[in-house]
């Protein structure tokens, strides 16, 4: 029987600062065989730990097409993530997984794809975005709507510039509190609806962000004619095991760690209001 609770050491190959409290860590498993065989799907997460500090679920931000390494974008908010932010290149971090279900990619060939993220919500979507970019021809329109509180809090600033240059991909950015140099939209992410055509007869939406954003974005998508089953949301819950045992991430009769983290709106709307899946 496999011991799912044992983590595997990985070396920090590089660290990219995203914002004042967020960094992206590029990791390579110490065990070469594991580094090569480690497979995952966009939307999945890993349990990340430091020995003696603790363990937390973190979504994978690299794409399965990135071979040999793993990228995690981590905001320093708790005991573990603050400790991870103290680490340097060459330091060790412990990983087990991948866990959870994933966003559809093959299943949405030929469709228009809409990615809507808020703040630290872009990292999990980046995994799908990069997966569809490598086979751009398989999909229709691609739009990325991304909002943050301030310009500093946008993740992947350089990469966003590159994405904007790609033909046939629309990237719309917005912030609540602009600075002097901000050239783009100001307001919550749903204010971008006025800036681009959000109506698509075969559109599929991918959402990640704070619960309140999820709620308003879904409302907007429904008005634009998206079908419940074409809206994919990735949820976040406190978790301890990642494998459906510790109980913490239960939501209605499911576990976010094994039945999610990706849910369709058809599933989400059946959750009782008290589960607060949205706002």
């Amino acid at each position: 029987m496999r011991n799912e609770y044992l983590p595997h050491p990985a070396i920090i190959e590089s660290i990219q600062r995203e914002s004042f409290d967020t960094k992206t860590f590029k990791l390579v498993f110490k065990d070469k065989a594991l580094a090569e065989s480690f497979n995952y799907k966009p939307g999945q997460f890993v349990q990340v730990s430091l020995l003696g500090v603790g363990e937390s679920p973190i979504s994978i931000t690299s794409s399965p097409s990135d071979k040999g390494f793993l990228e995690l974008t981590i905001r320093a908010v708790g005991k573990l993530t603050r400790a991870i932010h103290q680490l340097k290149q060459g330091d060790k971090i412990y990983i087990r997984g991948p866990y959870g279900n994933s966003f559809p990619v093959d299943e949405v060939a030929g469709k228009d794809l809409y990615f809507i993220a808020g703040g630290i919500g872009l990292p999990p979507l980046r995994s799908v975005i990069k997966s569809v970019f490598v086979r751009r021809g398989d999909f229709g329109k691609i739009k990325i709507l991304y909002g943050a509180k301030t310009p500093n809090e946008l993740c992947f600033k350089e990469e966003l510039k590159v994405w904007k240059q790609i033909d046939n991909i629309e990237v719309l950015l917005t912030v609540d509190e602009p600075d002097d140099r901000w050239q783009e939209n100001v307001g919550v992410v749903t204010t971008l609806w006025g800036k681009t055509d959000m109506v698509s007869p075969n559109g599929v939406a991918y959402i990640c962000g704070p619960p309140i954003m999820i709620k308003f974005v879904i409302e907007k998508l429904l008005t634009s004619g998206f079908r419940d089953e074409d809206i994919y949301i990735t949820l976040e819950r406190y978790m301890k095991c990642g494998i459906g045992k510790c109980g913490h991430c239960n939501i209605a009769g499911m576990f976010v760690c094994i039945d999610g983290p990706v849910f369709t709106y058809s599933q989400l709307k059946k959750f009782p209001d008290k589960e607060k899946a949205m706002a």
Partner: protein
Amino acid sequence: MKERLLEKDNVKALCMSASEQWETYLPLKSIGGDTHFIKLDGKDRELLADKLNLEYESLVVPPKFILFPQLESLFKFEGEKIIETVKPAAKKLLFGLRACDVKGLKFIDDFFKRNFEDIYYLSRSADKLLVIVGCKSPAENCFCTSAKTGPFLENGFDLQLVDIGERFVVEIGSERGKEFVDTYQQFFAEASKNDLERSKSEKHSVEQKVSLSLDFEKAIERFCEDKVPEQMYERIAERCIYCGGCLYVCPTCTCFNVFDERRENSGRRYRNWDACVFEGYTREASGHNPRLEKWIRTSRRYEHKLKYDYLTTGMSGCVGCGRCLSSCPVNIGISQVIEEVTKQ
């Protein structure tokens, strides 16, 4: 399989003898007067076995702790090296279980096997022999006849003992149970027709003694159809002190927390029992908590047992042991909840 007979005077000798081969757990009377499942171990085994109490009303703590301890190490680390601490488990004899607790063990066995296998639990539970000694005098908060979990079972045990006075009629529920009886055959005799008659009437008489009768099926139905009013949870929330005691003593609760401990260069990762009624249970590192409100945590506690467990497994997460009420400092029990939701 054919029933046997076990003289009460032989029980201690049987357990002593079995403990040579089996890691043996027995209900033993403790200093304080409560009965706990304790491992028959060490040089004082004989003295320990003298405290055997098969007529206990209810164990304060259900036997789940034998397979799922309140605190356990997942692994230790020295520097950057991780050292696995899963030990090959000995075969266990759990002698003197009540029917409801066997149902509870079955429930958590299934849970730890489902989806990902939990190696820590399963390594302990893999090789076990479950011996029921049926209740003689059910405790006042029990409702096993309503939950259909006792006081005797039709299957799901290795051996089931029915008290008929000076002796037990031994029902054999599995091949392993039969092997056990064959191995220790010197302690067992043939049961006569008369013994079986007495066993049957004894079972019936114990059933009658379970005084608390609830419409369990109707409660499950109402929970599954979302017909439980929120006001009921709000009322419970006003009274509940959120100590988590009812969940620690619940034979089907399995939630755990995970934490690390480090001293200089080495330490361990542990897991310990947790409870869904605690505020911190769903609180994320950012401080965001989807279940901040008390009544929502209360609704989770009851819906998990009486709705979601049933919908997922076909088996309710409540086995009718009554421990939640018995242990509650403010007099709340799942039996009262069931009574309330079925009375409309």
